[in-house]
Symmetry: C2
Subunit: 331 residues, 2 copies
DNA sequence: TTGTACGCGTTATCAA
DNA sequence: TTGATAACGCGTACAA
C-alpha cells in the first residue's frame, strides 16, 4: 500500500494484470458502471482489495475536468465566526463527497487575489469565501469566469455568484426592540467605522424611530474598540441605560468598560451583542445577543454551491437566513 | 479566462501556438528553468498574460508524483484548540507554497479512517493530524506506507512519523507550583476520565510531593464537567483553597460552580486552567492558565512535515514545545 | 537555444 | 460483455 504517485503504487493497470482483464473493465467495476459479468466483478474487487488499489483523484480530475474539491476562504482562521461555519461547510461537503481546501486572506485584497489564483490552479470545483472588503469586482470576475462561487456575508449579485448572508437588519431591530421593551430609554449603539457595515445601524435607527434618539459611536470592531467606545459614550452621555453592540467582541469590551466605570449590568446599563460567539455565554454577566446559526450558514453555502456547480445558470443571487434573540443576563 | 478543465481553458499548448514556439519552451519559461533567449522569454510571458494561462496543478501533480497539498485533520473544527493551530499551519504552509486541505473526524476512529483514505486518494503530500484516541496503529500504518505524517498532541514513535506536542508535564508542575507559591495548602485537580490523558495529573502529583495531598476528580473534559467536578469536590473537601483544571473549559465551569457555591475567586479558592484559549482572558475573574503557543505548534508541525517530505529517512520522532504560565486574576 | 516523444493514471470513444 | 486507443495537461529524457 505505497503512496500515490510513488513507484510501487497500485494502479488500474496492476489490478487489470492481476485479474487478466483490460484496464477499461477494472475502471467499469470500480466506478459502478454496467457492462461486466458478476464473475469478473468479484474477481476485480478481490484484486482491488488484495492489492490495496486506491483511485488517483488527480488523474480522474484531470480528465473529468472536475477535481471533487471546493475551497473555503476565510479572512482569518481565528475569527470567532469561522469555526462553526467551517464545521457546517465541512459536514455538508462531506455528505456530498466533496473535499475541502481552506485558505485565509488576512483580509488583504492582494493576498485574496493570490489565494484565489492558487486555488484555481488547483482546479477547485467551487469557492466559498468571506470576501475582503472592496473586492466585489474581483469576486464577480472570478464567478463570471466560470468558477461557481458563494460569497458569505456579502450582498453581491452577479452571474455564477450566490450571496449567502443573515438578516442582520432584522437582528438589529430585534435587539433594539428588546432593549425598548425592557424599559430602556437612552439606548446607544457602538458600531463599526467601516461604511460598508451600516446595516445594523439602519435597523437600530429605524426601530428607535418615535421611541428615542439614536446615539452612535463608531470604533474598531474589537473588544478594545468596545472599551474605547463605552468610555467615550459615558463621558458624553452619562445617562445612557442601554448599549447595542455591533458584535459580541465589542459587547464584551463594553461589559468590561462598564464594570470599570462602576456601572452594573444589567442594573444600570443593559447590553445586547450580535453573533452569539462561543464566548458570549461564559462572560459575566452572560451576554444577551442575536444568534447567527453559523453551522447552518455553512451548510447553506455548500448546498447553494453544489446546485450552482450542477447548473451554472442557477442564480437565486441572494439567500438570507433568519436570526434570533438569545436572552441571557446582560439585558 | 475560463475555468480549468473546461473547454476553452488556456494550456501550455495554446501559449506555444500563440508565440510560435514549442510546448517545451513555454514550460521552461513558466517554471523558471534555463535555456531560452531573453527575447522568447518576454514573448512567452506576454502570451501567458494575455491568454490568462494558469498551470494545471492536477496535471503537474500527476506527473511529478507530488500534488503540492498537505492535509490538516482535526477532531472538531469547533475545538477551541483548532483555530490558532490552523492559522499557524496555514501561514507556514503558505510560505512553503503548500496548499491546505482540511477535514475533521468527529473524534471517531472509523470516520478518521475514511477521511484519511479520501485524503490519500487526493494525493496529499503530507498529513498533520490530531489523532483520535486509540488509533495509534492506524496512524503508524499510514506513516509507514510512505505518507509523511505529523501527529499533534500525541507521543507516538514510528518511521515516517513525527509527533509534535507541548511539554504538558512541565505545564502541570508550573501550574501547581504557582498555587503552592501563592500559599495554597489544599489543592485539588479536576481531570479527564480518559486514561491516556494523565500527564497533567503526573505533573500535579509530583509537584505536590512533600507539600500536600493530591485530590483528583475525573470528569468530562467540558465546562459542564468542570461544574460537576467542583460540586463533588466541595461536597467531599469543603476546605479546598485551590483548583488546577485539566483545561480552560473545565476551569471556566469551575469558576461558575464556585460562584454559585458562594466562594470567591481567588479569595476563597484559586483556579488555574490549561491551554490559554481565547475565552480565558474574558471570563470573570480572568483566568490564570498555562499557555500553549498553538500558532507556533502549527508552524512547527508544518516545518517538521516539510523536512519529512524532503527526506523520508528524517525522524526526530518527538518534538516537545515549551509552555508558560500566564498570570491573570484567578490565581 | 529549442523541439520531439513519451508517460503520469484515469475516463471516454468506438469497435469487436 | 469486453478491449484497444485516444485524450486530459504537464514534465522530462533525449535529440537537434
Amino acid at each position: 500500500v505505497a503512496q500515490l504517485g510513488t513507484p510501487g503504487n497500485t494502479t488500474l493497470r496492476d489490478v487489470a494484470e492481476q485479474v487478466g482483464v483490460s484496464i477499461r473493465t477494472v475502471s467499469r467495476v470500480v466506478n459502478n458502471e454496467t457492462g461486466f459479468s458478476e464473475a469478473t466483478r468479484s474477481r476485480v474487487l478481490d484484486a482491488v482489495e488484495s492489492l490495496g488499489y486506491r483511485p488517483n483523484l488527480l488523474a480522474r480530475g484531470l480528465i473529468k475536468g472536475r477535481s471533487g474539491t471546493v475551497a473555503l476562504v476565510a479572512t482569518e482562521l481565528t475569527d470567532p465566526f469561522f469555526p462553526e461555519l467551517a464545521e457546517g461547510v465541512q459536514n455538508a461537503a462531506n455528505e456530498l463527497g466533496l473535499t475541502l481546501l481552506v485558505a485565509s486572506t488576512a483580509n488583504n485584497a492582494a493576498r485574496q487575489a493570490t489565494v484565489l489564483e492558487s486555488l484555481r490552479s488547483h482546479a477547485v470545483d467551487g469557492l466559498i469565501l468571506f470576501p475582503t472588503a472592496g473586492t466585489e469586482r474581483d469576486v464577480v470576475a472570478v464567478a463570471a469566469s466560470g468558477l461557481p462561487t458563494v460569497a458569505i456575508d456579502a450582498r453581491w449579485k452577479a452571474p455564477g455568484l450566490v450571496s449567502v448572508t443573515s438578516d442582520i437588519y432584522d437582528g438589529a431591530r430585534i435587539a433594539t426592540r428588546h432593549l425598548v421593551d425592557g424599559g430602556r430609554t437612552c439606548i446607544a449603539m457602538i458600531s463599526s467605522v467601516f461604511s460598508e457595515q451600516r446595516t445594523r445601524e439602519a435597523g437600530y435607527v429605524d426601530e428607535l424611530t418615535g421611541v428615542g434618539h439614536p446615539i452612535i459611536e463608531r470604533v474598531d470592531v474589537t473588544a478594545a474598540g468596545g472599551i474605547t467606545a463605552v468610555e467615550a459614550l459615558l463621558a458624553r452621555h452619562p445617562n445612557i441605560d442601554a448599549i447595542f453592540a455591533y458584535n459580541d467582541l465589542m459587547a464584551v469590551g463594553a461589559l468590561k468598560a462598564l464594570r470599570d466605570a462602576g456601572r452594573s449590568v444589567p442594573g444600570d446599563v443593559a447590553v445586547v451583542g450580535f453573533d452569539n460567539i462561543g464566548l458570549s455565554e461564559f462572560v459575566t454577566p452572560a451576554l444577551t445577543t442575536i444568534r447567527i446559526d453559523r453551522e447552518r450558514l455553512g451548510r447553506e453555502a455548500i448546498n447553494q454551491l453544489s446546485t450552482l456547480m450542477d447548473n451554472q445558470a442557477y442564480s437565486p443571487e441572494l439567500v438570507e437566513l433568519p436570526v434570533s434573540l438569545v436572552v441571557r443576563e446582560s439585558a
